[in-house]
Symmetry: C2
Subunit: 443 residues, 2 copies
């Protein structure tokens, strides 16, 4: 496909490209533009019919949107920015430097500029930032016939026509009605009779992850957003929610790997961005980690009298770290998906206690036998066996309890993941190991 388009572009067969693009999905055209050399991307974009062009633009990755805007003539930029849906435009502006946003805001007509400024006024990661103002509103007094007429007229410019929101005279949200219900009803019935008045909505300052979990729970196509006075100000549609879920999961995964969140895509990040989001964590952890050195120093005499003790340090704390990482991973994810509610905490902790004990015993036997075989010293085998059992059990409990504790303190449980848990387990593990060793070997 791309090779074909490049050939057509090189031969300036613009008419053929036009007809080729007309039968292609906007999502695919965006992919094509992203894969072409920049100057060709601009040409393809200009060949698109107007309504298709905006969809293609909205589907482009952020870095390509910026690039494309720079390559367009100013009247094309004006057209694109004014025609975009307000929520996609907010997303575009969020990623641009402030002076570029100011320049682009000046290119919007009065109405679109008012909308853009309002949306940018909401806090990051809230419903207000996600929503679009292109929603369909009906009034309680409308008949089905009138409603259908309204929908037909408004359809081309609305993000969805499948859920319509009903407002009272003072613009308060009073109900919701699906196009399905309208189509199935008699022409003379009124919206007031038909609508569902126990409508579920979110507020402009509701966090995006909460919006996502509400939409997932109710299987909504769209959800209305209201202000403090319950006036309808926007809607959020299903496609934005998929992006939110992916974004929130990425943030959690990164945090669990000890990396701070970022809005930029991996490929766009600079070396400096990468260092910033990683260095602070590594420094905190190395300072914390240096306690392990102090602990080992206090056991210097044990280490000098039985050098073989040091051979098993990585095995012991590594295995403890792995067990702790497993527990914390499972608990953090269960809290994030809402699977683990606080009333179940004790049940999970109790079960994990048994699991940790069993896994500890199992690994203790494996590790102890291996240590005995490699050192030829039964007492070292016993020391490793006992220490491993205890450390794995403690690590499992630590990995379970710390995320739950963070949740109680309203901190993000994802912080209590692999890197932090292994560091805690290192310290606890070393103390356990040398106390067991002192007891078994040195008495």
């Amino acid at each position: 496909m791309n090779q074909n388009i490049i050939e057509l572009l090189e031969n300036k067969q613009y008419h053929d490209i036009k007809s080729l693009l007309e039968t292609t999905h906007p999502g695919d055209i965006s992919d094509i533009i992203e894969s072409l050399p920049p100057h060709f991307g601009g040409i393809v974009y200009r060949l698109l019919p107007k309504d298709l062009a905006v969809s293609v633009f909205e589907n482009l990755d952020s870095s390509f949107r910026e690039m494309l805007l720079k390559s367009l003539k100013s009247e094309e930029v004006i057209k694109t920015l004014n025609d975009m849906s307000p929520d996609d435009r907010t997303r575009l502006f969020e990623e641009l430097p402030a002076h570029v946003v100011r320049k682009y805001l000046a290119l919007l007509n009065d109405n679109e500029r008012k909308i853009a400024n309002m949306l940018l006024g909401y806090k990051d990661y809230t419903a207000g930032r996600l929503m679009t103002t292109d929603f369909l509103e009906l009034h309680e007094s409308f008949t089905v016939t009138k409603a259908l007429e309204t929908i037909r007229k408004a359809a081309p410019n609305k993000e969805t026509i499948y859920y319509c929101y009903v407002m009272s005279r003072d613009r308060k949200l009073t109900g919701v009605i699906s196009l399905r219900t309208i189509l199935l009803s008699e022409p003379e019935q009124t919206i007031l009779e038909l609508m569902n008045s126990s409508v579920i909505s979110v507020q402009t300052d509701t966090l995006q992850e909460e919006v996502a979990s509400i939409m997932a729970q109710y299987d909504f196509l769209a959800i209305p957003v209201v202000d403090l006075e319950n006036r309808l100000v926007g809607i959020i549609t299903h496609d934005d929610i998929i992006d939110v879920i992916t974004e929130e999961d990425t943030e959690d995964i990164h945090l669990m790997g000890g990396v701070s969140a970022t809005d930029r895509s991996l490929v766009d990040l600079t070396v400096w961005d990468n260092i910033k989001r990683r260095a602070s964590w590594l420094i905190v952890l190395i300072i914390f980690q240096s306690f392990s050195t102090s602990i080992l120093e206090t056991y210097e005499s044990a280490l000098s009298s039985v050098v073989a003790l040091s051979f098993f340090i990585p095995l012991l704390i590594g295995t403890g770290g792995n067990a702790g990482t497993q527990s914390s991973t499972v608990v953090i994810r269960a809290i994030a998906t809402g699977e683990l509610q606080s009333q179940d905490s004790w049940k999970v902790i109790g079960r994990e206690f048994i699991v940790g004990f069993v896994l500890g015993s199992l690994l203790g036997i494996i590790g102890g036998v291996k240590a005995y075989l490699s050192s030829g010293n039964l007492l070292i085998g016993v020391t490793i066996g006992i220490s491993l059992s205890v450390v794995v059990a403690i690590a499992s409990m630590t990995g379970t309890v710390l995320p739950l504790f963070a949740e109680k303190l309203k901190l993000d449980p994802a912080v209590m993941a692999g890197p932090l848990i292994t560091t805690v387990v290192d310290i606890v593990g070393l103390i356990t190991y040398f106390e067991v060793a002192k007891f078994v070997l040195l008495t």
Copy 2:
């Protein structure tokens, strides 16, 4: 709300409960049933009007669905199972033991049983398993008037009426048309003129994660599923895709934490389930980890002559493990979201090389100074400083390259995460450390 319902249930004020439930969203009623004592849950379910009951049932968590089915009379079970949407029924059957599924299949009428058997015949985690057969089909020859009539008639039993699929006489999928397009068109226009014939579909054996990524890319409400002969056999709707994304992310996160995948929710897992999904990983890693013991044994003379060397082992390999975990986390997630395409691999590896070098130098200085201050020995400070720099740089590269390598080998990159990376880094880190030590301290 719940306290209120419990009081009403205790006083047997069923009429009040009924009217209370009528204005409540099915998703909320499911939550209420889940929070009530089991015998009350069954009563509330029976009080629901028939069409609402099925939605409530479909919204229940799997363990509650099983419990509720057990508490219902057999004619109620028959009604519920026959009225469920086919995709939700597949999900229910997937989680039940085989003999229960056989019993329930026998309760279905011929048509529903045929559908249920067909859907269960597809492989786990494929489009066939996710899809529903309740889709709306139109024919090319229909006029808009005829199409609207068909839609109105079929609407109550279809999962969505907002996308309609067009079939030729031999049931091949030839196009898609949205209800929006139909509503905006003239009554005499035909579907053939209006439909989009470059329809994007998936096959029954397409993996669910691929279905999710296609739907996310095109912002679809629903996607058609075809068999090998391009005959339309089902559709997958947006709400199922949100579940798939959450499920796939959970699986990735678990694997990254060294825990095998499971279909059951954390709270429902038994001690034994938990041990099974964790033990195999821990055993593989402890065997791998035991190389670290062998390595340390070869450096016995160094360790006996400078005991202080052992004090820094946890600090060194811990910090290396953290840096490696960071890199692998970011790369694995970027591969999973499709952000990192193979053509960008070298760019990312190159950048990570510089990042690892800078972070290594930074941590080397911090660690080296700390080691010098705590040991009072400049050469130990230098040894730790150099080793830390090298280990962090190597760990960053390892964490970047291993997931990309796994991807090339068509393995799941999520395996190359924290637990495995830290184990690899332990071994590489120890060799580096003692070689540097031998060079700096012992020559």
